[in-house]
């Protein structure tokens, strides 16, 4: 495998119509991006969409936090405006940022290369998935411009169907389209992982990131359609008055909640599972140790995916769900905590006796362990039936899911982004500012959300525009934290953006990863591999050694190969 650090600049036309060179420069013009079938380019475009949406949703969050600095209305005068802002913050962050973040951005980019395949199984469907994402994003933004949305991202009926005066139909159709985008990504990943693995790359030799993407894809395929039908029913209720969830017609709002959470609880695992996969890669690479308990981590991903389907009812503990169902869901909810704990313990064990380097991605990984620890353990409170009766729909819940969804999933995404950034763009970012950004996010995040746990236990309900004086101290600290978080995010992305100004300077393997994407050039060639890839053991880090000459790691000749290749070596 070539170890050139600078990619081919001259472009030589090939008989097949493809030009030589890396995937960034092989073709020019906006059409070569907008209609590309290359999974890497699709991943990069997804990244732009996700980062744009992250800042959009983040702006809404900062305005909200500013309003909550004082108990009574200040900058947002009307309750309606406040409601629209928190709804849009939630809807954008969930549908446009966290759900596509890791699978569609990092997964799309890395999955085929890690697997040793030339592309995903259905490149056209992959492109369509991205186009649907753009359409969905446009529709959501159109909904914001044409009357907003004030239903909460949960769209609870009958509020969303009979009462709300905002453009619910447009927003719901946007989310519907985004759902299809997510389904197509998942479908592609499942088929790719099943059918495109080269010789030697068996299921149990796959990198754990792929296992987690596989588990995620299963959820995307099985759960998202249910969201689709739920949203369609909202549309027909609003436009044609179907009445399936309208109590006046005999419909039942609790049924809607079952529908909604049958998707939206597993959706939490769509967000967190890929992040866990990223963390597995980060910890093993930066500890330079074979991952501890590979099969336990792999199985725990699949277990989480499956158990994740059985726990949706814990969002309904206080919603009029019957005690029978409530008890079942409580038991099952606790069962999800076991595989999560297994993962955490195995990550710790991987660090044991390692050679740990606290570079930026590893800082994010450690940050993940800390935040996921809090997010996961506070889940125990909410899973306990009696405790949940008091905490449900308070700021405790707000803090809990931010710890899991932002603190864990997004920090996982940031970690992954920094990890694969040199691979994606062929440039190294500034390490010092990278670390400052990571620490800033950690500090800002905890300052913002930890006080909310206390406010919640004290009884502050969520989605409150104005609140009682006693909650003021917590809200003030929280707002300060939100701004630290905002500034830190800005630092992170400015730092990453600045690296793009430089010429290519990233070696193929700057961190010492043993998975296949580190064996190709940075950025990778157009077809991922210039020749038939050699399939390496993703966790045999002893076969990867530092080469001071190229300031890069490389596989020792013929070592750490898998399957058929092993006999050749």
């Amino acid at each position: 495998m070539s170890t050139t650090t600078i990619a081919n600049e001259e472009q030589v036309a090939e008989p097949g119509g493809f030009r030589h060179g890396d995937y960034l420069t092989c073709d020019k013009g906006w059409k070569s991006w907008a209609f590309t079938l290359d999974h890497k380019r699709i991943g990069v475009m997804y990244m732009l969409g996700v980062v744009f949406s992250f800042f959009l949703g983040g702006m809404f969050a900062l305005v909200l936090r500013m309003e909550l600095f004082t108990p009574n209305p200040t900058i947002i005068r009307s309750g309606d405006t406040y409601n629209q802002l928190f709804t849009l913050h939630g809807a954008i962050m969930i549908f446009l940022v966290i759900i596509p973040s890791i699978p569609a951005v990092l997964g799309n980019f890395v999955l085929p290369i890690m697997l040793g395949a030339k592309d995903v199984a259905f490149p056209r469907i992959n492109l369509m998935s991205f186009h649907l994402y753009v359409i969905g994003m446009v529709m959501l933004v159109a909904a914001i411009l044409s009357g907003g949305l004030d239903t909460g991202w949960t769209f609870y009926t009958p509020y969303s169907t009979v009462v709300s005066q905002t453009s619910v139909v447009m927003a719901v159709m946007g989310a519907f389209v985004l759902g299809f985008s997510s389904i197509f990504t998942g479908l592609n990943f499942v088929v790719t992982i099943h059918k495109m693995r080269p010789a030697g790359m068996t299921f149990f030799k796959m990198p754990l990131f792929l296992w987690s993407l596989y588990a995620t894809a299963i959820i995307q395929i099985l759960a998202t359609p249910v969201l689709g039908i739920t949203l369609l029913l909202i549309v027909v209720e609003r436009t044609l008055g179907f009445g399936i969830f309208d109590p006046k017609m005999g419909g039942d709002p609790v049924l809607f909640q079952h529908f909604f959470w049958f998707y939206s609880h597993p959706a939490v695992y769509i967000m967190i599972l890929p992040a866990m996969g990223v963390i597995s890669e980060l910890i093993t690479t930066f500890s330079r140790r074979r991952i501890f308990g590979y099969s336990f981590i792999a199985y725990s991903s699949v277990l989480i995916a499956i158990f994740g389907f059985l726990v949706w009812g814990h969002h309904l503990f206080t919603s009029g769900q019957s005690p029978v169902a409530t008890a079942i869901f409580s038991i099952l909810t606790f069962s999800v905590s076991i595989p999560s704990a297994i993962k955490v313990f195995n990550w710790m064990a991987t660090m044991y006796k390692g050679s740990i380097s606290l570079q930026t991605p590893m800082l994010y990984a450690m940050s993940f362990l800390f935040l996921f620890g809090i997010g996961g353990l506070t889940g125990l409170f909410l899973g306990m039936l009696s405790v949940d009766l008091h905490l449900h729909d308070t700021y405790f819940v707000v803090a809990h899911f931010h710890y899991v969804m932002m603190g864990s999933a997004l920090v996982g995404f940031f970690g992954g982004l920094h990890f694969w950034w040199p691979k994606i763009f062929g440039r190294m970012y500034d390490e010092k500012w990278g670390r400052i950004g990571a620490i800033g996010i950690f500090v800002g995040f905890n300052t913002c959300f930890f006080p909310q746990f206390i406010a919640g236990v004290q009884g502050m309900p969520r989605r409150y525009h104005q609140y009682e004086e006693i909650f003021r101290p917590y809200m003030v600290i929280s707002t300060i934290g939100a701004f630290i978080l905002g500034i830190a995010s800005l630092i992170v992305f400015v730092n990453l953006y600045k690296s793009l100004k430089k010429p290519y300077d990233a070696p193929p393997n700057p961190w010492g990863g043993a998975t296949l994407e580190w064996t190709v050039t940075s950025p990778p060639p157009h077809h991922n591999f210039d020749e038939e890839p050699k399939i390496y053991d993703p966790y045999n880090l002893e076969a990867v050694v530092w080469d001071p000459e190229t300031r890069s790691y490389k596989h020792l000749e013929g070592q750490g190969l898998l399957g058929d290749g092993e006999q050749d070596a």
Partner: protein, 159 residues
């Protein structure tokens, strides 16, 4: 029932002739027609059974027949009988999650029945909800029913 109408083997590795499309399975037309006849007969049966009042087994019988029809279509028309085990698993998996979703939801709402029924009993609706508003004629503003509107609560009767 081996219906391979040409030399292709059901599935698996390339055969000796090196035909790269040897994995394609072809069903015989006799099988297809036989399945169709069975489906028509089962449809008649389910319509016939429905004309009798068999009480609580009605749904079970209808669903039983539908499931058999479903199995026939899947097995032969959709070639699932000859397809890879993986595709069978994919399909069965979807049925499993379908059942979970439906099962738990029904269990829950079924046990909420008393709360819903007592509410409906104590808050009956006097007229069909839409009649006041979506009557095509403009009767709504006709000052002909003053007493009616004086009654407390058209939708929510006072206890």
């Amino acid at each position: 029932m081996s219906d391979t109408a040409n030399k292709a083997s059901p599935h698996g590795a390339h055969d000796e002739h090196g035909d790269p499309y040897a994995h394609i399975h072809v069903s015989s037309w006799q099988t297809l027609v036989a399945v169709f006849v069975a489906l028509v007969l089962l449809t008649s049966l389910t319509v016939y059974v429905a004309t009798y009042d068999i009480g609580r087994f009605e749904l079970a019988v209808a669903m039983g027949i539908a499931t058999i029809k479903c199995a026939l279509v899947m097995g032969f028309f959709m070639h699932l009988k000859y397809d890879r085990a993986l595709n069978r698993m994919v399909f069965l998996g979807s049925i499993l999650f379908f059942t979970l979703f439906l099962g738990i939801t029904v269990i829950d709402l079924d046990s909420s029945k008393p709360d819903i029924e007592s509410y409906r009993r104590e808050n009956p609706v006097k007229t069909a909800p839409a009649t006041e508003e979506s009557k095509p004629s403009g009767e709504a503003t006709k000052p002909g029913d003053p007493k009616k509107s004086g009654e407390p609560g058209q939708h929510q009767k006072q206890k």
